[in-house]
């Protein structure tokens, strides 16, 4: 428990100090990873904590992003203090509607129904003029009041604060009676119902909160890029965030954090021409093999590595 707190503390301290050493790109890279981490945390609440495998998380992310773009286009010079909550609310409401329907199904069927609803959202922005069609649309600017998000350091701060807030809130949430109930649902929903928990509202609430957090990540992403595109809602985005949390290790908030960092850094590593020369264009190969190896060797994801070492040491000791 203590070592985990130290780990998380070190990560956030490192993130807070990063701008002191990083260049403009280093800042960008970590902002990107932090947004991915928020996105991954949103899914961790469903998959890792509640046992609901959602394969349509990109829709909530994309809706947060599109809400930012469309609201800013509609209301010139919109202020951050209502723009951000509005985007989060849009994503949360869509998640509430999707959850209300899809929670009627279970297991793989649930996976596919969430995919179906995400694809519906995807085709709405892809095929209708609402969101600018397939090429996407630009944000008219950057929110400047009350924080000037055009300044990289300010935006870095906002992203870090959002990540810390999401991490903290989820940490509390999972220890609370609500979070414990989610854990019970993951372990054995039938038993929970027999005990007297109406599980549906719990799952629905988790779903909506998760969607809202994904919307937050989407909002930050849209402001960072200044551009949104239907591909933000595509199924492979839902897939890649799922890969992130599995790689990091399910059932731990740290796992989502680690997974987001690991996937991004692995990509950077295998793409690096400095390391691989002209073979860098086949970077998918290295990434794919690494993923396969980690699935084979790390049953609990990257989070499980210390435990594996400990087990090995103990085995040697005996």
């Amino acid at each position: 428990m203590f070592s985990r707190l130290v780990f998380v503390g070190l990560v956030f301290a490192g993130l807070a100090l990063w701008p002191l050493v990083a260049g403009a790109y280093g800042l960008d890279l970590v902002i990107k990873i932090m947004i991915a981490a928020i996105f991954a945390l949103s899914l961790e609440l469903l998959v890792g904590a509640t046992g609901l495998v959602c394969f349509g998380q990109a829709a909530f992310f994309g809706i947060g992003a599109y809400a930012a773009a469309l609201l800013m286009a509609r209301f010139d010079g919109a202020a951050l203090w209502w723009l951000l909550p509005a985007a989060v609310l849009c994503a949360g409401l869509y998640a509430l509607a999707v959850g209300a329907l899809s929670l009627r199904t279970r297991g793989v069927y649930f996976i596919m129904v969430t995919l179906a609803f995400a694809q519906m959202a995807y085709y709405v922005v892809h095929d209708t003029p609402l969101g600018g069609g397939t090429d996407g649309i630009y944000l008219p600017g950057v929110p400047t009041a009350p924080l000037d998000l055009g300044k990289p350091l300010v935006f870095y701060g906002l992203t870090l604060a959002s990540l810390a807030l999401v991490f903290g809130v989820l940490g509390l949430l999972l220890r609370s009676p609500f979070g414990r109930a989610l854990a019970g649902i993951k372990a054995n929903e039938q038993r929970m119902r027999a005990t007297g928990f109406s599980t549906y509202p719990y799952k629905l609430a988790a779903f909506a909160v998760s969607g809202a957090i994904a919307g937050l990540a989407g909002f930050l992403f849209a402001v960072k890029d200044g551009f949104v595109n239907p591909e933000l809602l595509a199924w492979h985005q839902s897939g890649s965030v799922l890969i992130m949390i599995i790689l990091g290790g399910l059932g731990h908030l740290r796992g989502a954090l680690i997974g987001a960092f690991a996937l991004a850094l692995l990509e950077e590593f295998f793409k690096s021409e400095a390391v691989w020369g002209s073979f860098a264009k086949h970077w998918h190969l290295g990434l794919g093999l690494t993923i396969i190896l980690s699935a084979a060797l790390l049953p609990k994801g990257l989070v499980g590595i210390p435990q594996l070492w400990r087990d090995r040491l103990e085995a040697r000791g005996e």
Partner: protein, 248 residues
């Protein structure tokens, strides 16, 4: 006659053309252990599922504490005082014994909106959990991971989790299944202790145990009740001997 806590009237469940439970009527009184016996496939587990609300009946009425609960969902019935255990272990193996009980106790005081507060902050819930574990004889094992318990202890934990919800009626689905002689004795002692103030429905295959502990026995064959009454009367019943005990 003491107060009737759970009653069902002509309870029926059909699966397609098969009648799994056929017009079963029962009444469970406070302080009474009521055993339901019957061969495999007689509809005993389905009966428990109907009573607890896990599946909906095709026809019939269920009354809990004098209230018609036929249309209530399972969680609602559970909160109203109907506890049940399962034939297969349904504990949460990853949690500690205490957390298993605490989570069960939490069902009575959900307080789900207090998301910022630790689940351990509710002293009443913790107390209820500890009390339930104590009654089931698990006080020494509170911090043990439930998955590491012996089979008998797991069955005890099942009972403890039921108790933690402070039920008035207990529906126990084969609590003795797979137990050794010593574990059986301990469980029977536990059940005997629990009977005061509660009604207990017991589905069980261990005939010796049933006849030792039950106040009343109902025999089911092919979904229907063929006999019901005091153990001695049931033992003497010709139909029962023909249909069920005859095999022994």
């Amino acid at each position: 006659m003491s107060e009737v806590l759970l009653r069902c009237e002509r309870l029926t469940r059909r699966w397609g053309g098969i009648v799994a439970v056929n017009e079963v009527s029962l009444a469970l009184a406070s302080g009474e252990v009521h055993a339901v016996i019957g061969t495999n496939g007689a509809g005993k587990s389905t009966l428990i599922n109907l009573l607890s609300g896990e599946i909906a009946p095709s026809a019939g009425v269920v009354e809990l504490l004098g209230q018609d609960v036929s249309a209530w969902s399972q969680p609602r019935r559970a909160r109203a005082g109907l506890g049940r255990s399962y034939q297969r272990n349904t504990i949460y193996p990853g949690f500690s014994v205490f957390e298993n009980c605490r989570l069960a106790a939490q069902a009575r005081r959900p307080r789900a909106w207090r998301w910022w507060q630790s689940a351990l902050a509710c002293e009443q819930t913790n107390e209820a959990a500890r009390a339930a574990a104590q009654r089931a004889g698990l006080t020494d094992l509170l911090d043990r991971s439930a998955g590491l318990l012996s089979h008998g202890q797991k069955r005890q934990l099942e009972i403890a989790m039921c108790l933690a919800t402070a039920p008035r009626v207990l529906l126990l689905d084969e609590p003795l299944a797979g137990m050794g002689a010593e574990e059986t004795e301990r469980m029977l002692a536990l059940l005997a202790e629990l009977r005061a103030g509660q009604a207990m429905l017991l589905v069980e295959h261990d005939m010796d145990a049933v006849f030792r502990i039950a106040d009343r026995i109902t025999v089911m064959v092919n979904g229907a009740v063929i006999a019901s009454g005091a153990p001695d009367a049931v033992r003497a019943n010709a139909d029962v001997q023909a249909a069920y005990l005859g095999g022994h």
